[in-house]
């Protein structure tokens, strides 16, 4: 693919995206509009994350791409191959060796450090989209920090179900100001957003928004004082490595509906099974 620029995007486009990223880092949790480009993979399949990664990569980077926590899921494979072809950078499955990690729907179990960037793929960036479909109105709500509606929705959940019935894409308050959608990560992962040493970038291609969390940002999951947020997961241990603290996939093993639970984060699981920590 030598007729394409490094990491596919032309330099003007990268500059535009980097400006949006910088704005996002300057105003944590605020959705910055950007002119998302048509990419060679469909909207909804990670074009936002791919554009953020493409604008961020330098030739010395080591890239990890995961989807549902695994390196080997089809879309992660496809995206990793895309960057191998268009950027020629080194790739890895090991979280500890990566400098840039692009992810869909999970945060790695292995804690991140200050030399890493985590890029999230975001389908719907607006946390209130399903309460208020009009973008003109949600924009105003964010500008005026008029988040009563968001809290009402949580109230309604408790009134109807006895608990807050959101299990993924659980809304958070960032640095005491903006309410943000952390992308469809399970709520189990929410605590990892808080006070994280790495830079966290969020890209929504189809919806044309970028937002960001600079390192060590205070991120608080919305809740009530008497119904505090809890990062719950299935009450089992991984059948392969034995971890009782990592998020698990449920696998149906036979026609009778037998099931077992294994770590969603395949790299974390493999290291533990090998005998490393």
């Amino acid at each position: 693919m030598s007729e394409y620029n490094f990491a596919y995007l032309d330099e003007d486009t990268k500059r535009m995206i980097r400006r949006a990223i910088l704005k996002g880092i300057a105003v944590p949790g605020y959705q910055v509009p950007f002119a998302s480009r048509e990419m060679p993979m469909p909207y909804g399949w990670g074009t936002g994350g791919v554009q953020v990664t493409a604008a961020t990569l330098v030739p010395e980077d080591v890239l990890k791409v995961i989807d549902q926590g695994a390196d080997d899921t089809t879309n992660a494979v496809s995206i990793r191959k895309f960057f191998q072809r268009t950027a020629g950078i080194a790739t890895t499955e090991r979280t500890t060796e990566a400098t840039v990690i692009q992810t869909r729907h999970r945060i790695p179990e292995t804690p991140l450090n200050e030399d890493q960037i985590l890029v999230y793929q975001v389908p719907i960036p607006e946390p209130m989209r399903f309460l208020e479909p009009r973008e003109t109105e949600t924009r105003r709500i964010h500008a005026l920090a008029d988040y009563g509606l968001m809290q009402v929705r949580l109230y309604e959940d408790i009134a109807r179900h006895g608990e807050i019935a959101t299990s993924y894409a659980y809304p958070v308050e960032v640095a005491g100001r903006y309410v943000m959608d952390p992308s469809p990560i399970p709520k189990f992962d929410n605590p990892k957003l808080d006070d994280c040493p790495a830079i966290q970038l969020f890209g929504a291609g189809r919806e044309q928004r970028i937002y960001a969390l600079p390192p060590y940002t205070r991120v608080r999951s919305l809740d009530f004082d008497d119904y505090p947020f809890s990062a719950s997961k299935a009450d089992h241990a991984c059948a392969i490595c034995g971890s009782a603290t990592s998020y698990l996939d449920e696998v149906i093993t036979d026609d009778a509906g037998g099931r077992m639970y294994v770590c969603s984060d395949t790299d974390y699981c493999a290291r533990r099974a090998e005998g490393g920590a």
Partner: protein, 269 residues
Amino acid sequence: MAMSAAALEMQDVPGPLLSVRNVGKRYGARIGCSDVSFDLWPGEVLGVVGESGSGKSTLLSCLSGQLRPDEGEVIFDTRDQGPRDTLLMSEPERRRLGRTDWAFVHQNPRDGLRLGVSAGGNVGERLMANGARHYGRIRATAQDWLTRVEIDPSRVDDRPRQFSGGMQQRLQIARNLVSGPRLAFMDEPTGGLDVSVQARLLDLLRGLVRDIGLSVVLVTHDLAVVRLLADRLMVMKDGRVIESGLTDQVLDDPQHAYTQLLVSSVLQV
């Protein structure tokens, strides 16, 4: 006097709660309302009456921040900054005012409620918008208010769609009053309701106004409503105030020919 002793005690502010000076709004060549001035004191209910097209609804919209008047001042005595012209406030300030110190009761309750949210959520919204974060207390406060507006508190989880028109209106009132506002704007609050339901609602409003020491600007075409609720009265015609004074005085001894016409047109049952 219109204020209860309790309300009098609360007020150590000498000036009027709301001072309106020369408010006017035009629609092209047509006058919406023109040159309206008045003072409203704590605990006072001011009725604004007139027929359709008199400008009373336009005036209400201009005072409550829904329409921008072309001229005039709307000075409200804020808690922390004294008297301020609300027309010069920034949008965040105005919105905050709208969910704390001010209330707006729409003629059609569906315009003032979230239909997809439970009664409890509707009443609790202002509390949550103002930072309340304890579910149990929010719910208890909501149920308390449902009781005060004579809605069975066990219906706290029902949607407004499941309520009658009168109940929806009472729910709207509870939703507004939960934040302890000092000033309420009401646009034909009993319009469209059955007569017996109206009567009950008026009694409720009268009681609440007295208990809270609420000031109200009440727009209506119904003279019976102002007779019951309002201390003072302004009569509007073609966008202007043509007569004002104490309710009983104006209704029993109207001076202006138009007021005389209005009063005499009311059916005596």
